[in-house]
Assembly symmetry: C2
Homo-oligomer: 422 residues x 2
């Protein structure tokens, strides 16, 4: 069989330069989140298909890499459909595994439980620039905290991390599933049509108010409802976050749960008063977030200058109950790790505080005690925190040093067999 | 479909306490290896079956988790055998992916290339205590270095890491594939029988010299060869490493390549002279190492007090050539990451230098400006490097503090709605 040099379709090898940046970013993320009391966890990359296909994953459930059964369980003769051949698959997100994990270990975990999970996920998407079939996700979640303390901490932790990574001028857009629904109800849409209305609303960014109106009309909704609906958005535009929420709460009246206004305003004012990074917290009534499992607050990191969303999350108070039979408040925020890395690479981010680096070039033929002496010197430098590369000297030493220079080695020591010339 | 709380068979969830240790160990490993000039890389968890089944993986090739084809490529009707349904699988080690990676990116990588790869691998082994179907591997490899500088650096890097993790009194056992073969040739075994002889020799640890003799006899080998073979081992026993190697080189004469003696002795004396950890470097002519791809030096970390091997590696100068058509010297050392973690957990290892931790307990109902003030105080503490957990106060505050105490919070601040009592 011919060996294949390329990675499998849609997945990528990570070269040393990118990996150095990834390790650095992972370090900052872990350190910052630890400061907020999040503890790292890990779950297997392989999950039961029963869980992956539990309707929590939305469109992602169509993109599962399935793992074949093995041994006696695999019977090609009698297999009639795909599910006869497979019972597990690669996870497409970290939320379903987290909720399974929490359900499984609830009694061993503190309450509230603040989890950080970083790991690869897989989606058999059509490969395209910057989108891979294996990619890193980075989620923080708080389980067991019903109040908006969860949202405040999640937003502060995420934005503090982004700030430490050098990002500024970005936006956190915030909305509430219940606000979305109240606005639709107020306008006269029926509950069954919400999903369809929200799919159109979600395009506001791209097609604008007029475009949304057109599409809703085309979908057969009443002109009167559409007008009433879009008037709400027009009236909020230009208002500040606190003011916009108050306006909607007043207008929507009984359509809106009484605590939504206070909760949203409290999140916004608390975060605004205490944030350490330079960003804007924006109330965005058009924010939908695709996943159907959200039950309350939803939010998104927007970096328009880099073409879109770099993370998001929200409250999903009903998912744990699907595993345990008992609902548990849950709220999470996911950083778009791969996008962040791509942006930092594009911007030529320089990693601070790398080890001081020196290369020892040793002439070919050096061995025995002389070699031991050189290695001992390298070991001493390493114990002092320096990075020491010990390599054999090439014939073209000048070219070799240029190449090492490109790897960040600016300091060199040459060792010759006949004598030590430094 | 019923949701499943347990992880898939043979794989495990990692709880916060273990995860903290894993993160700590990963940090030490990355920092130590960086000091030796190793650079991190990563490869996809999914590899082409063509590569996974290339005979480089030995017995592991029987344990592959295969990934199903998708979409049009999957045709159940016409599928006759497993390979019609799958073309990729989860990697069972990091060596095959590394060699593919190197072959793919050779022109973009420095020479020699010193790679560190940490990542999960999967083997559909029979689950048993402490052995999982998904586990972390941690490999360092040097590609492009033909001299024993590679072995010396690999052994020093690995042992320095183990030393920093608190391990001492362990052994590094070292041997040479060419020494193994020369001894067998000298005793009169034919080349075709080497594999079979070595499989028996590998049991020396368990069944002793007599056991090995018996088994070889049973396998039909000549008594004369067996006696001559085992005499070699008897004569080496009790000798120091340098002396033992010299004795074998003298005895084996032309059966042994001339450079084996010098190379092995140089590795041993250089490592001994410069090692920073407390361990013993032992020449062990019975060391076989299972994988057939080894071509020269082989080594293993032995921790008899913990029941066996905690890592190993060796030189494999022929594997890159299988991908590129041109042999490249290669040598690697893999730490038994999961064993190391298990031992450290069992020994109750305490992680040094954790963040200073404080928990803020805030009475239920606190919101608005008061909440902002508390969060602002938490943010200030975090900016100073402390870990601050902000939680709602439970009715039974004493019990809550006990539980937080178990999570390492010794310092508390209580906040009440009516006034701030600290």
């Amino acid at each position: 069989m011919t060996l294949i040099k390329k990675p499998v379709t849609g997945m990528k090898d990570i070269l040393p330069e990118e990996m150095k940046l990834r390790d650095y970013v992972i370090g900052i993320i872990k350190d910052t989140y630890a400061g907020f009391g999040f503890t790292s966890i890990d779950t297997p990359c392989v999950e039961s298909l029963a869980n992956l296909n539990s309707k929590q994953g939305g469109e992602n459930e169509k993109l599962i890499f399935k793992v074949m059964k093995r041994g006696e369980k695999l019977n090609l003769e009698t297999a009639k459909e795909e599910n006869d051949l497979t019972d597990s698959g690669l996870r497409y997100d970290l939320t379903v595994p987290l909720v399974r994990y929490y359900s499984n270990h609830q009694n061993e975990l503190p309450s509230p439980f603040k989890a950080l999970q970083m790991g690869y996920v897989w989606r058999a998407d059509r490969p395209q620039k910057g989108r891979y079939r294996q990619f890193m996700q980075c989620d923080i979640d708080i389980l067991g905290e019903p109040t908006n303390l969860a949202e405040i901490e999640l937003i502060l932790a995420t934005t503090t991390t982004l700030g430490r990574l050098g990002f500024k001028g970005f936006q956190i857009r915030i909305n509430e599933r219940r606000m979305l629904k109240a606005m639709a109800a107020y306008a006269g849409f029926t509950e069954e049509s919400y999903d369809s209305v929200f799919i159109t609303l979600d395009k506001m960014d791209k097609i604008g108010l007029e475009g949304v109106a057109e599409e809703l009309l085309k979908d057969g909704f009443a002109k009167e409802s559409i007008d009433k609906y879009l008037d709400l958005f027009k009236n909020v535009e230009g208002k500040g976050a606190i003011e916009g929420i108050s306006f909607l709460a007043d207008t929507l009246g009984d359509f809106l749960d009484a605590d939504v206004k206070n909760s949203l305003q409290e999140i916004i004012s608390s975060v605004d008063a205490t944030k350490s990074a330079e960003f804007e917290l924006v109330f965005d009534p058009t924010l939908v977030r695709g996943m159907s499992y959200y039950t309350g607050t939803i939010f998104e990191v927007a970096m328009p200058q880099y073409g879109g969303s770099c993370g998001g999350g929200g409250r999903y108070d009903k998912m744990v109950g699907k595993f345990t039979g008992q609902d548990t408040p849950a709220c999470g925020f996911s950083i778009g790790f791969e996008r962040i890395i791509m942006i930092m690479m594009d911007e030529g981010f320089k990693i601070p505080d790398e080890k001081d680096k020196v290369a020892f070039l040793i002439e070919k033929g050096i061995g025995g005690e002389q070699l031991s002496e050189i290695i001992a010197e390298a070991q001493k430098e390493r114990a002092n925190g320096r990075q020491v590369l010990v390599v054999r000297m090439n014939k073209n030493k000048k070219f070799q040093k240029e190449q090492l220079g490109a790897q960040g080695y600016a300091d060199f020591k040459d060792f010759y067999k006949t004598e030590f010339k430094h």
